[in-house]
Structure formats: C-alpha cells, structure tokens
Symmetry: C2
Subunit: 186 residues, 2 copies
DNA sequence: AATTATAGTTTAGTATCTAAACTATATGCC
DNA sequence: GGCATATAGTTTAGATACTAAACTATAATT
C-alpha cells in the first residue's frame, strides 16, 4: 500500500520540514527556534509559557528552558513575569522575532492560496486529524467546549471565566478541549 | 488574513512535527533520526547516500555523517560500499530500523484513510507545492521526465539508462526532474 | 597529467537534547 | 493555619546534533 494517505502526508510533511530547516538556516537559527517563534505567534495568552511550549513540542522543559534563554539573549523573544501567578513567565515575540518569523514563513510556503479546493483539503485533513486524536490540548478557541458567545467584541472562556477579544478565537490554547471530551476521567 | 492556506499548512505541519517528535522520543531517538529512517524507506537506489540525505534534509554533510555513524552503531542502518563508485557508501535500513520506523509511523498518523477526498486533497497540495518549487530533485520516478515505459515488469530511467523494477516508480529520487525543466541552464 | 567536481570524514566549537535534582509558588485537604 | 502535593521554571552533567572548514579519496574533465 504505497498510495494511502499516510504516505502522502508523510511526503508533504517531510517537504515542509525540509523547507522549515532551510528557512531557519538562512536566518541563522535552528528548526526548534522556528517552531517556537511560530507557536508563540499563534497561541493565546494562556499558552505563551515555557511549559506550554514543552508540551506542544514534546520536549523536556529543561531543553526548552535553555533554548528560550538563548532566544532571549539573541533578542527574538521577551520574557515578562506573570503578576497573577508568580511561578509563571509569559513569552512574547519581539519585533526582531516577528520579522525573523515572517521572513522564514515567506520562504517556506510558496503555494497558490487562491484555490479554495486546496484550502478546503488542508482544513479537512487537519480537522480529521484533530478529531482522531480527540483532544490533547492546543486547538483553536472557537472549536473548544469552553468557548461561549458573549458580545460582539468579546467571547467568554468557560474555563477561566474571562472575556477575550473576538480575534483571539483563532488562536490556539493549551487548555483546548473538544465538545464531549473530558480531560481527567475519560 | 488568518484563514489562508499558509496558516492551515503551518498548523497541520506543526501538528505533524509534534507527533514525529513524540513518536521518535518514545523509541529513544530524535527527530532527525526519524526523518532519515523515513527517507531511506522511500528513496530509490540512486538516492540512498549520505550526500542525498544531506541535500534532502538541508543539513551539512558533516552533521549527517556523524548522525549516520551513531545510527549504524545503534543498529538502525547498514552501510554497504558501492562497487561501481568507490567514493559512495549506500545506506539501508536494518530490520531494527524498519521496525523502529514502523512503530513510529503507526503512532504518528491516526487518520482515516478510507476517505478518497482527504487523500485527494493531500495529493493536490503536494503537487501544487512541488510544481511551485519547480523541481529541486526528490520526486517520484513516475512523474520524472526521465521516466520511460519499458516492459510490464520494468521501466527505464532515461538519465542512467538502467531498467528499474516497476514498483520503484513510487520511490523518490535525487535526480528527479519534472517535464520541461532543465537543471543546469534554466 | 593536471584540474575540477563529488562523496564522505574529521575537527573545534556551539546548540540542543534527556534525565534528574533543584527552587519557588500555588493548590488541596485536614 | 499547617502540611502534602502539584505546577512552573532553572540548573547540572553528559550525550547527541549542528555548522563551518579542513581533510582524504575517487571520479570526471580537460
């Protein structure tokens, strides 16, 4: 069975990773740095921590801690202690980090995005995948069971009780859970 | 523009890479080792060399050389000097390497492959991508301009003049070129 | 025979990786 | 409150991965 979806996904992904490595290399960073910048650019304000990155990338927090230290020194990210929870340090892209990421992204994906069928295909795969891995966090707020409609400008997170700006619904969250799933007892 | 194809591809790929890291970690290897095993399992007999891996992954051959040394020591791959070209050492998965790859692949992709639309979507993206990066090697023989029909059991490679077994047309080759493209003078 | 190209190794120095021990803060329970 | 447990992050030691550059050896070109 050389023609099933695993093979094609594998090829697509290995092509993508290869592009990522090249793009990272051109900016003088490594793959994991690109991944971290990418993650920080799409995660919400509950998820921009070392621990979340560690969970997301599946690497030890020790390793991430060291890498973040270097990325701060090189000026790609910024660390701001959380006032509510003094254990936590929130991470943000600096302007340099944003520009670096943008250059890499432009290099990476050169594919026509005016084909709605293509976009649809990708979305479909992503959705099927996420549903199949029923929930291990890191989904978009708008597909989360805690996502509640509020006003026109804001939506409410049922888990934290906070009201979040509308555009954040596309960001990904470490606490994400699909409807019907239970994290602890399932 | 949070909804264009770049974003979705990015999310799909970062999900995939994350899965790869996890799967590799469970087998006690790192991402790059998984990528190498994967590559060696789908490349043809012209492309199973350190140099080709270096080109494919976009990393220096020094780095690849060291990694291959360790992968040989750990019994995942085997090295056989090429008789025709004494500079070349061909690389092969051992049984341990195959089993390791299989375990990782099973862990990684858990997605229904009975949906022809999904498969079609992936293929479409891959093709669009490859065409957009008009050829930098590493495509399947059957889409190569050197691919020539021969007998029922074999096809001919117009570049090397050799006859290759029919099932190899799905493998990827470092010399791959799409129809109409010229490597040197374009 | 000399030049150039290609395949691979080795070296030095840096970055990333894991596992485990560590500090500090938060949470749950009596 | 006081104590156990959980969570966030750092640090350490040692292994692996990374780049750039120098190196050997063989092949192809002139």
């Amino acid at each position: 069975m050389l023609n099933n979806i695993e093979i094609w996904l594998e090829r697509l992904s290995s092509l993508y990773i290869s592009q990522m490595r090249q793009a990272a290399s051109e900016q003088g960073v490594q793959l994991v740095n690109l991944e971290i910048l990418q993650y920080l650019s799409i995660c919400n304000d509950y998820s921009n921590t070392a621990q979340a990155i560690s969970d997301y990338l599946g690497q030890t927090k020790g390793s991430i801690s060291q890498t973040l230290k270097i990325m701060e020194q090189s000026g790609h990210i910024e660390r701001r202690p959380c006032t509510k929870d003094k254990r936590v340090i929130r991470l943000f892209l600096t302007k340099k980090g944003q520009e670096c990421l943008q250059k890499m992204t432009q290099k990476m994906v050169q594919i026509p995005d005016d084909d709605p069928e293509l976009v649809d295909g990708i979305k479909k795969v992503l959705k099927a995948w996420q549903l199949n891995h029923h929930n291990s966090g890191f989904g978009q707020c708008l597909s989360c069971k805690y996502h509640q409609k509020a006003t026109n400008q804001k939506f409410k997170c049922g888990l934290t009780g906070e009201y979040l700006p509308h555009q954040d619904k596309f960001k990904i969250c470490r606490e994400h859970e699909f409807e019907g799933s239970t994290k602890s007892s399932d």
